[in-house]
């Protein structure tokens, strides 16, 4: 099967997956106790008021009916409107996507070269002091959860030393890059470890492989062998991990957004679920599902380019 047909088939399957995700999300939100009317009514609400809100929001319509009309709208590119504010869901997605993309792209731009560099250096000096230092530091970072690292960094650099703004509250991310420093450090810390470890392992394997040794025997320069022959196949296993990281970043890392006050997709999701604002939750589910499908497809294609034999395209 050609690469193109493979990609098309994967996309078709992806469409089914997105539909399945959206349906499951709808059912799950229905299954949660309370609905948007209960959430809006707040403390000690009068049941009559809850009923009024339900009618005003159209929540008295059968669930299947509401899901059907939402799907119909989606097929026409209409994500619907928020139950609370009546704002189009597309606006929420647009607003949240900006900060999330800025963070995700900057994190990747820093993460990928840095983790490849660390992985390769550690592999070339396997067992040496550099390898040990890199291993210790990255494994150490990996074992600290994001929120803990964030809290410590804010307390030290934001509040005590005042070197960096502790939050991004009210700030325009691109206009004031200082607010991005701490969130980026937190976002990069753990993937840096997992990816650099994979690169290191892949590189060690590749350097010991037959084709690399053969290339060396043919008299090709060591540098060329390392970077043109060993590195591509060493990267293949890491690409899947990068894909997972991209997916994680594009989902809006909720903890990081909450602690640093970054109004990205994660924050919107938390608010929408808490308020049972179903159209917004479903809109986000579509975005997340599409992202996952696309990112994984791209990752597979990249791996195929890097190391054709490692991917079985049936």
């Amino acid at each position: 099967m050609s690469l193109r047909r493979y990609a098309l088939r994967r996309l078709a399957i992806g469409l089914v997956q997105v539909l399945a995700v959206v349906t499951v999300v709808f059912l799950l939100v229905q299954a949660l106790p309370g609905d948007a009317a209960v959430a809006l009514a707040g403390d000690n609400p009068d049941p009559r008021r809850i009923e009024e809100i339900r009618v005003a929001m159209g929540l008295d319509r059968p669930a299947l009916d509401r899901f059907g009309s939402w799907l119909w709208g989606l097929a026409h590119g209409d994500f619907g409107v928020s139950l609370f504010s009546g704002r189009p869901v597309a606006e929420f997605l647009h607003d949240g996507l900006g900060p999330t993309l800025v963070l995700a792209l900057l994190a990747l731009v820093l993460l990928i070269p840095l983790s490849v560099l660390l992985g390769v250096l550690a592999a070339l000096r396997e067992g040496g002091p550099l390898d040990r230092v890199v291993t210790t530091v990255t494994v150490g970072l990996h074992s600290i959860p994001e929120f803990a690292l964030a809290v410590v960094l804010i307390a030290v650099f934001g509040v005590q030393l005042r070197w960096l703004p502790p939050t991004a509250v009210g700030a325009d991310l691109l206009a004031s890059p200082a607010v991005l420093v701490l969130p980026l450090v937190v976002l990069i810390a753990r993937p840096l470890c997992s990816i650099s470890r994979l690169v290191r392992a892949g590189m060690i394997d590749a350097l010991a492989s037959d084709h690399v040794r053969h290339a060396l025997r043919l008299g090709i320069g060591v540098t060329r062998v390392r970077f043109a022959h060993a590195l591509p196949s060493a990267l293949a296993p890491a690409v899947q991990q990068v894909a997972r990281t991209v997916d994680w970043l594009l989902g809006g890392v909720i903890v990081v957004e909450a602690v640093f006050v970054i109004p990205g997709l994660g924050t919107i999701l938390v608010d929408a679920v808490a308020g049972r604002d179903l159209p917004v939750v479903q809109g986000l589910a579509v975005v997340f599902a599409v992202t996952t499908v696309v990112v994984n497809l791209v990752a597979d294609l990249v791996v195929f380019r890097l190391a054709p034999r490692s991917v079985a395209i049936a």
Partner: protein
């Protein structure tokens, strides 16, 4: 762009943040709020928000941040003063007729931000919008008393309201949450126009709202040039933003934060006492709490100072099983209840409840409820009765406990005592969680709200409270402070209870 944190990032932004704020929290010798108002500056206030839920339509307002923004942009006819009684705002005065069913309201000379005067027609249109049968605005049930069809504009500045029944506390209705006056016909609130102390500049949902000083405000222009509301959902983020100089006001901090920063030179803690009542609600219509002795035993088992100290981290006062400590009509002459284990044991024996296990429903729907239930269950040990704490789902908690169970955690924000009674303690009340339904009590309420003479009315309210204190279903053990943090150079922050006019009111605040 937004004025960044004035301490900047290693001077990176020094060129950009062109002194929107004067002074720096740590340079002056001020440790307490400066006492002389100063004009100018931009105050940034951090509130919890909700991206999806945030709206600028004041009638839809629900969250604290929306309430605070509404009062900056709009006015009500009346609002609640520090003792939670209605004070005239856009209404200069109100006069009922002798039947108490027709009220004549004279409007103040005020203008909307677009220069149009606030007219009687705008008042009627605003109330008509809230009362629209196809919508579910929060103030609707409060305003339902108004017979709008028979109400009219006498002239541009006089409204005559017809009521469905005699009601001397009508000003409480005018002060209802969300009963703001908008220009007649207003439906689009993307660039809201009100008559409040600040006018609209810009809005980024889920992030910030920028307002500017309304120099023409009828009560006098605000001290601040600009007011920016920013959203930070996490309490720790609001505190950090304040400590890092990114905001000057952080709304709703926890008692723990307050305790650890009391006396700090980097932030000032402002407490508003009597802002929220903490209680346990016993249902008087079913076993076991249909037994008056058993209710009294529970009242006597509560160690209130310990509850306040442990659950509220000391940020509050003990309650006396009555709503509205410090509010107008509060029966402060009733002696404070204290723990009496022996008498409680005796009452439990007399009620035949020895060895009984009672379920106490609670949830994390409001801060401190689960903790309070756990502490109380501990206090009850050794009385012959056992309390089993059951933690339910927080999202359906209020609806569940309104119907089911026999004892539950309860909390409520500030409202006039009359409103508390009307909503929760009459036979026909919508949220009667204690199931207190007594014709003689209903009759007392009817008498209170149709008694014009203030002293006489107050004595009826006291009679009602005596009966509730003796045998009601609410064990109100404490009143929590409302806590906000501010930069040390911020002055003019009021300590009036949350939900009243002066709470989160920024036209009286200044940057020193």
């Amino acid at each position: 762009m937004h004025a960044l944190n004035r301490r900047g990032f290693l001077g990176l932004t020094a060129g950009l943040s062109i002194a929107t704020l004067t002074g720096c929290g740590t340079t002056g010798a001020q440790t307490s709020a400066p006492s002389t108002p100063r004009a100018g500056g931009r105050l940034r206030a951090a509130f919890a928000g909700g991206g999806a839920k945030e709206v600028l339509d004041p009638h839809l307002a629900n969250l604290f941040v929306e309430a605070a923004r509404s009062k900056a942009l709009y006015d009500k006819l009346a609002d609640l003063g520090p003792d939670v009684s209605a004070q005239p705002r856009l209404a200069e005065k109100w006069e009922p007729d002798t039947t108490l069913t027709r009220w004549r309201i004279t409007l103040r000379q005020a203008t909307f931000h677009n220069g149009q005067p606030v007219r009687a027609e705008d008042v009627l249109a605003s109330y008509a919008r809230i009362l629209d049968s196809n919508r579910a605005f929060r103030a609707k049930s409060s305003l339902a008393l108004i017979d709008l069809a028979n109400s009219r504009a006498v002239d541009d500045r006089t409204v005559e309201f017809a009521l469905q029944r005699p009601f001397v506390e009508f000003p409480n209705v005018l002060a209802a949450f969300g009963a703001y006056i908008v220009p007649a016909g207003a439906e689009d609130f993307t660039a809201p126009v009100g008559s409040g102390p600040f006018s609209f500049v810009s809005f980024e949902p889920g992030k910030s709202v920028l307002l500017k000083r309304n120099a023409e405000y009828w009560e006098g222009a605000p001290h601040l040039d600009e007011l920016e509301f920013v959203i930070a959902n996490e309490e720790s983020a609001r505190t950090n933003a304040l400590l890092g100089g990114q905001v000057e006001y952080a709304h709703d901090l926890t008692p723990t934060t307050a305790r650890s920063h009391t006396g700090s030179d980097r932030l000032a803690i402002h407490r508003a006492p009597n802002s929220a009542v903490q209680a346990f609600a016993m249902k008087v219509d079913r076993p076991p709490f249909d037994n008056r002795d058993l209710r009294e035993a529970m009242f006597l088992l509560a160690d209130r100072p310990q509850l306040v100290e442990s659950v509220l981290a000391g940020a509050g006062q003990v309650g006396n099983d009555l709503f509205g400590k410090g509010y107008q009509h509060y029966a402060d002459d009733i002696p404070q209840r204290t723990r009496d284990l022996d008498k409680a044991k005796f009452l439990i024996r007399r009620a035949g409840a020895e060895g009984l296990t009672v379920k106490l429903d609670t949830s994390t729907a409001a801060a401190g409820m689960v903790e309070a239930a756990t502490v109380f269950a501990d206090q009850v040990k050794g009385s012959g009765l056992t309390i089993e704490v059951v933690t339910g789902n927080k999202d359906s908690y209020w609806a569940d406990t309104l119907k089911n169970g026999s004892m539950s955690s309860f909390r409520s924000g500030a409202m006039p005592i009359e409103t508390h009674v009307a909503q929760r303690l009459l036979s026909g009340s919508g949220t009667n969680v204690t199931k207190w339904a007594r014709p003689e009590f209903d009759a007392l309420y009817d008498r209170a709200v149709s008694t014009v003479e203030a002293g006489e009315r107050s004595s009826v309210y006291r009679d009602m409270q005596r009966s509730l204190h003796a045998e009601g279903g609410y064990l109100m053990w404490g009143f929590a402070d409302w806590i906000v943090g501010a930069a040390p150079n911020v002055g003019g922050i009021s300590t009036a209870p949350a939900n009243t006019l002066d709470w989160a009111r920024f036209d009286k605040v200044w940057l020193g």
